[in-house]
Amino acid sequence: MNAFTLYRRMAGASIKAQLRYPGTFALQLVGNFVTTLLSFFGIWSLFHRFGSIAGWDIGAVAVLYGLVNVSFSVAETLGRGFDVFGSEYVKTGSFDRLLLRPRSTLVLLLGHELRLRPIGRFLQGAFVLGAGFWLSPHVSWNTVWLLPWAVTGGAVMFLGILIGQAALCFITVEGLEVVNVLTYGGVEAGQYPLTMFARWLRRFLTWALPLSAVCYYPALAMLNHPDPLGMPLWFGLLSPAMGFVFLALMVLWWRRGVAGYVSSGS
């Protein structure tokens, strides 16, 4: 059995398991949809009161918002195993069992759960994204291929954060809430135009955590909107690749962590 077939089976089993508690599942799905919808209501209220967000119209902000939420929901669906890695694998010692299996630990953890709950966030993000394109005057033809490319880059980058967060658990044992700064905090930061942040934060969000490379710059290219800070438009066509670079770095770090792993349990 190759890794892909194995993953498909694990994913199938996980979907069945999640549908076992239908009441809870429905509540979670609705909750997820409503959370994200409400958070857009907050942004919309700012527009309603102030007319624009620092000179950006609602179409552009809706595209940014939709892009970052769709990307994150894909990573959330795939990467649940890394999210709970500290509490469910390192602290309990059950990571030892994964190490005994003749498969890549990354594949086994991806198969921990294929989470259905983020579908709510995905649908809502896609809906806002569509509305954003509809409201924007100069949507370019590049969007047709740039959109899937940016979403893939974004999903891969968020997956990289989750893997990096799991690798951190080799040191801290328990997962730390502080890494939510990069996941949920990343989503929060990604839905605003980059120009409204201070310079240190702009640099961090482009070169350390390539959030703007998978969200802000591709969105500018899709909307034919010149960058107020002077970055040329073609940068947005290439920049989603930085998401893959980020993932590769995190995987390297993960390998180092696994090589130095000392079991905490029985």
């Binding site: 508690y21 909750g31 102030f50 709950r117 409204m196 942040f197």
Partner: protein, 274 residues
């Protein structure tokens, strides 16, 4: 009836909250980050539209955001984890067998959990966002002191009422967890509701005018929005009396309906694994 068992239940959960010092620090960093992003967003929005007559100044919006961030763990984000787990495993039967008033027993644990998490974080964040930020020259971005001595006293009373309202809402989530046999659903619904309706996402005064009065009248506003308005001395339609009145009304209503609902729930509960 003696009060001792409820005090014990409170002290136990309070100690659990204080146990994880690293988690407090980690939470502080997260709260500072989310606070900083919101502040930059508000600053950009306000500076770009100087002639819009907003119901609160930029300085007030910043203070509001800092206090909201410091009381994040005071919000009723879901059921008490211990009760949710007990509902799932069937261990909830032990709670049902205790010769104590179940509402007060769970309420004291819920309140202690909220306060044990929130108080250390709030003090630390207030220190960092207030005096320390002013010292390093970020005065315009810092947490402003209370409007006056009376405002500070009123806000303190109001915060205490708010903590009780929050614990009562947690009680409702506990009942939902006992009914659905899992804590997860309450987190999924409770977190977004609390984050939006308490003013954590966007200060309640900044919502569109048609929504503002409605938002003030719902129970979540009593947790932190009303205390913060009193702290900053912001006008509330009807003044202090309405402010505290709304809080007292919700505390009573949530308790009375909640007790009735809880008794109905446990009288017909089927226990899992018992």
């Amino acid at each position: 009836m003696t009060i001792r068992p409820y005090v014990t239940s409170f002290v136990l959960q309070w100690k659990i909250g204080l146990r994880y010092r690293l988690a407090v620090l980690a939470g502080l960093v997260a709260q500072m980050w989310f606070g900083a992003i919101s502040l930059m967003a508000y600053a950009a929005v306000y500076h770009h539209a100087p002639d819009v007559n907003a119901p609160m100044t930029l300085r007030q919006a910043m203070t509001y955001t800092w206090i909201q961030q410091s009381f994040f763990t005071l919000l009723p984000l879901g059921c008490l984890p211990a009760i949710g787990e007990a509902a799932k495993s069937g261990a909830i039967v032990y709670d049902l067998l205790r010769p104590v008033d179940l509402w007060n027993w769970w309420l004291s644990a819920s309140l202690a959990r909220l306060l044990g998490n929130a108080v250390p974080r709030a003090l630390l964040l207030a220190l960092v966002a207030g005096p320390l930020a002013a010292l390093v020259g970020l005065n315009g971005w810092s947490l402003a002191p209370p409007a006056s001595f009376e405002a500070a006293l009123l806000a303190l009373v109001s915060f205490i009422l708010g903590a009780f309202i929050s614990a009562s809402i947690v009680m409702w989530w506990n009942i939902v967890a006992a009914r659905t046999l899992s804590p997860l659903g309450t987190y999924a619904v409770g977190t977004p509701l609390a984050v939006l309706l308490s003013g954590m996402l966007l200060p309640l005064p900044l919502y569109p005018d048609w929504a503002r009065d409605l938002l003030l009248l719902q129970p979540f506003a009593g947790i932190s929005d009303i205390p913060i308005r009193l702290y900053m001395g912001m006008p509330i339609p009807g003044g202090v009396v309405t402010a505290l009145g709304i809080q007292c009304f919700w505390l009573l209503a949530l308790t009375m309906i909640g007790r009735f609902w809880m008794n109905r729930t446990i009288s017909r509960m089927e226990l899992q694994g018992a």
